[in-house]
């Protein structure tokens, strides 16, 4: 049924508020929709130069680079001052995602995948496409972002919740605690956007394969029919 690819992406940002934060790094990889494996040569990674002065941030209504954020991702103001502009990177990124949409319609656009993207990364994509101070597009006829598929978006955090909601060994669903801690994924370069994206993509492929196997063993036809007691 699905012939779309998945785009696993992640932002590193200046603060924790998705409606005021500024992206400082973006990374993404594309997963083959049917094979469920990372496509070769599909990595995208770039730093983005945020507004760095208090004056600029106040003018545009965005958060300054917070010390807490720097402590998490390690991208200092000095490093970011040399980075390409947010608009330039966003143009490159949208062009990159478009390459994986072979029918050039939003219906066939890659499906966004990530860890906690519903509440954090997706609103940033919306702001970059449609809201000031960014408003870089692309925008569809209904005024929504037109980078990723607008119908589906898969948040691995929700997926992990459904998997572990009754598991007493898991106390937090954060990527650090669950995937790196409980599931044993290498802690190497945690909170580097590309490293996080690769981890999420591998997790996504494994989980989707597991679901496929489960789904193929279950006959759903008339599963809720009155006669079916299974």
């Amino acid at each position: 049924m699905n012939y779309r690819d998945y785009c696993v992406y992640d932002f590193e940002t200046t603060s924790a508020n998705p409606f005021r934060t500024q992206p400082v790094q973006i990374a993404a990889v594309v997963v083959h929709g049917r094979k469920l494996e990372i496509k070769k040569g599909s990595q995208f990674e770039s730093l983005m130069k945020p507004y760095l002065t208090q004056e600029e941030c106040d003018k545009h209504g965005v958060d300054m680079l917070e010390d807490g954020a720097v402590a998490v991702h390690g991208k200092t103001a000095e490093m970011l001052a040399e980075a390409p502009s947010t608009e330039a990177v966003w143009k490159n990124f949208t062009e990159y995602v478009k390459q994986y949409n072979f029918k050039s319609s939003n219906f066939t656009a890659p499906i966004a995948v990530g860890y906690n993207i519903t509440n954090f990364d997706n609103p940033i994509v919306d702001r970059l496409c449609t809201k000031d101070p960014y408003n870089f597009g692309p925008i569809d006829k209904k005024g929504r972002q037109d980078v990723f598929n607008n119908i589906h978006s898969l948040d691995m955090l929700d997926f992990m919740f459904t998997m572990f909601e009754n598991n007493k060994e898991v106390h937090s669903l954060s990527a650090d605690n669950l995937i790196r801690g409980h599931m044993g994924y290498s802690k190497g370069r945690a909170h580097d956007a590309m490293s996080d994206v690769m981890m999420t993509a591998e997790l996504f492929c494994k989980m989707m394969r597991m679901l496929r196997t489960l789904a193929s063993r279950k006959n759903f036809r008339n599963a809720f029919g009155e006669q079916n007691e299974d």
Partner: protein
């Protein structure tokens, strides 16, 4: 030489038809024509006329006495079923079709010979069957049986023959029509055999007129590969409108690419005609291409029209997208800095030099500070594309498939390292390679079928760089394990063997996703 003077004796033409290389041949170019030509192996016009009559949908699907007419004819021709003429008096009439009533004329002759019908009465028989007129049929039937008894033939035999005529004539064809068709089929096959390059070139040109241009092109390109004719994508070396033959290959025309019209090509040709030497990519992207429709340029880049200029398609697309962000005035001034002497510099170098001159008030060419920021953003995009801009065969295969109807430069297989485990190609297998074979291929068609035991099996068609292979059978035991792997456009390694049962099929015993 006139085509009407051909003597229908060219063994090479008959060999070609018998091998099923029939794409482009009148009336038999479809799947049915191909498979039944391979099985019936026509060697003369009479047999070819029979093939044309027998591949009509009714003959192929409707069973008379438990077998379709086509299968009965094939089995009798191959000697696996005894030929039965039903009655010695009609042996002469049915001899050329192995006792199968293929043509309407045969039914009329049988009525004339067995039951003494006049030609008018015999024609009534044909009409009665064709129009399924029950009243007229009853009359004709009783006349036929009465006439046969008068000629000393058993009533039961007369009834049997009439029943067979009635059943088979519902689908039978007019012989004069069939032979006429067969002649045209032979002529088209002869032209294909002796002028193969031109044949494919003109068929490809005509593919635009077909309802499904992409499928037609794809089939023609696959058939051309099998016949040793190479079809390649459009090239800047031959910027023609339509398919053309150069260097022994057939090149796509620029206008055969989706969204590229004649007006776009004319504009391009007009712009480059002002130069007396081939242009470099830098000159093209700064001077020529910004003046042509954006989508048509992007599509030409995607299908490799500008390949050979030392840049990957992805980087050309990226640079073109950056250049399109410049205003006309900025472009004009940027072009001034591009000439033959400093062609060694990159686009990035040129834009940097251009930006370094600053805004107008400082003596530069950029109109305002806002535009200067835009130019700096373009520089930033060129310096940090964020991704690998080298060529990716799988991506080009997809782009070409979308924009040309068929991938011609590379296939998705080129991106699969495991494809090297293959020991055979599709064409080798379809040419009859014996024993176990492993093929690396892209799945092109999947047809599922439910068996009597309510299990699912599949018939698939695949292709690789050598050509196409149809008639691949995956039985339920294998298919149930690999169902997720087999879908349109999946890349797989399949192992199996060609088995001769009723028809040659490649039976799969294992599948690996690659």
């Amino acid at each position: 030489m006139k085509i009407e003077d051909l003597d229908f004796e060219d063994a090479q033409v008959w060999d070609m038809l018998s091998e099923g290389r029939v794409k482009g041949c009148f009336q038999i170019e479809g799947y049915l024509g191909k498979t039944w030509c391979q099985r019936l192996k026509p060697r003369n016009i009479v047999e070819l006329a029979a093939v044309i009559s027998l591949i009509r949908p009714g003959c192929v699907s409707a069973k008379v006495n438990g077998k379709t007419m086509t299968e009965r004819y094939a089995d009798r021709k191959a000697g696996t079923e005894d030929v039965d003429y039903m009655h010695e008096s009609i042996e002469d009439i049915l001899k050329e079709t192995y006792g199968v009533i293929v043509y309407q004329e045969q039914a009329m002759q049988i009525a004339e010979k067995m039951a003494g019908f006049s030609l008018k009465e015999a024609d009534n028989l044909r009409k009665a069957i064709g129009k399924k007129d029950a009243k007229l049929m009853g009359e004709v039937r009783s006349n036929f049986i009465r006439g046969s008894i008068n000629k000393g033939i058993d009533e039961s035999k007369a009834q049997e023959v009439f029943d067979i005529i009635q059943e088979s004539q519902r689908y039978s064809f007019n012989k004069s029509h069939a032979v006429g068709y067969a002649q045209v089929t032979y002529w088209s096959a002869w032209l294909k055999r002796h002028y193969i390059d031109k044949y494919f070139k003109f068929w490809l040109r005509n593919s635009d007129d077909k309802q499904d241009t992409d499928t037609e092109r794809h089939q023609l390109i696959m058939a051309a590969k099998i016949d040793g004719v190479e079809v390649v994508g459009p090239s800047i070396k031959y910027p023609f409108e339509n398919f053309t033959k150069q260097e022994g290959k057939i090149f796509f025309g620029a206008c055969n690419v989706k969204s590229v019209g004649k007006a776009h090509l004319d504009k391009y040709l007009k712009l480059i005609s002002e130069w007396d030497r081939p242009l470099t990519w830098l000159e093209l992207v700064t001077i020529i291409l910004p003046n042509i429709n954006k989508r048509s340029v992007e599509n030409l880049i995607k299908v490799g029209f500008f390949s050979g200029l030392g840049k990957s398609r992805s980087s050309m697309l990226h640079e073109f997208s950056c250049v399109k962000q410049l205003t006309k005035v900025e472009l004009t001034h940027l072009c001034e800095g591009v000439d033959e002497q400093n062609n060694q510099n990159t686009l990035l170098d040129h834009i940097k030099l251009f930006a370094a001159k600053g805004v107008k008030k400082d003596g530069g060419y950029i109109s305002s500070v806002t535009r200067q920021l835009k130019v700096e953003e373009i520089i930033s995009r060129l310096e940090n594309p964020g991704r690998d801009l080298s060529d990716n065969p799988a991506m080009y295969a997809k782009m070409e498939e979308k924009l040309l109807g068929c991938s011609v430069t590379s296939s998705e297989l080129d991106a699969c390292a495991q494809a090297s485990h293959a020991d055979s190609t599709c064409v080798e297998v379809s040419d009859g390679k014996k024993g176990k074979c492993t093929i690396a291929c892209v799945v092109k068609r999947v047809m599922e079928h439910t068996t009597k035991n309510d299990e699912t099996m599949a018939f698939i068609a695949v292709e690789d760089n050598s050509g196409e292979l149809e008639d691949i059978v995956i039985f339920p035991d294998v298919y149930s394990q690999h169902r997720d792997t087999i879908y349109n456009e999946s890349t797989v390694l399949i192992t199996g063997e060609t088995k001769n049962s009723n028809r040659k099929s490649f039976i799969v015993d294992n599948i690996f996703s690659i």
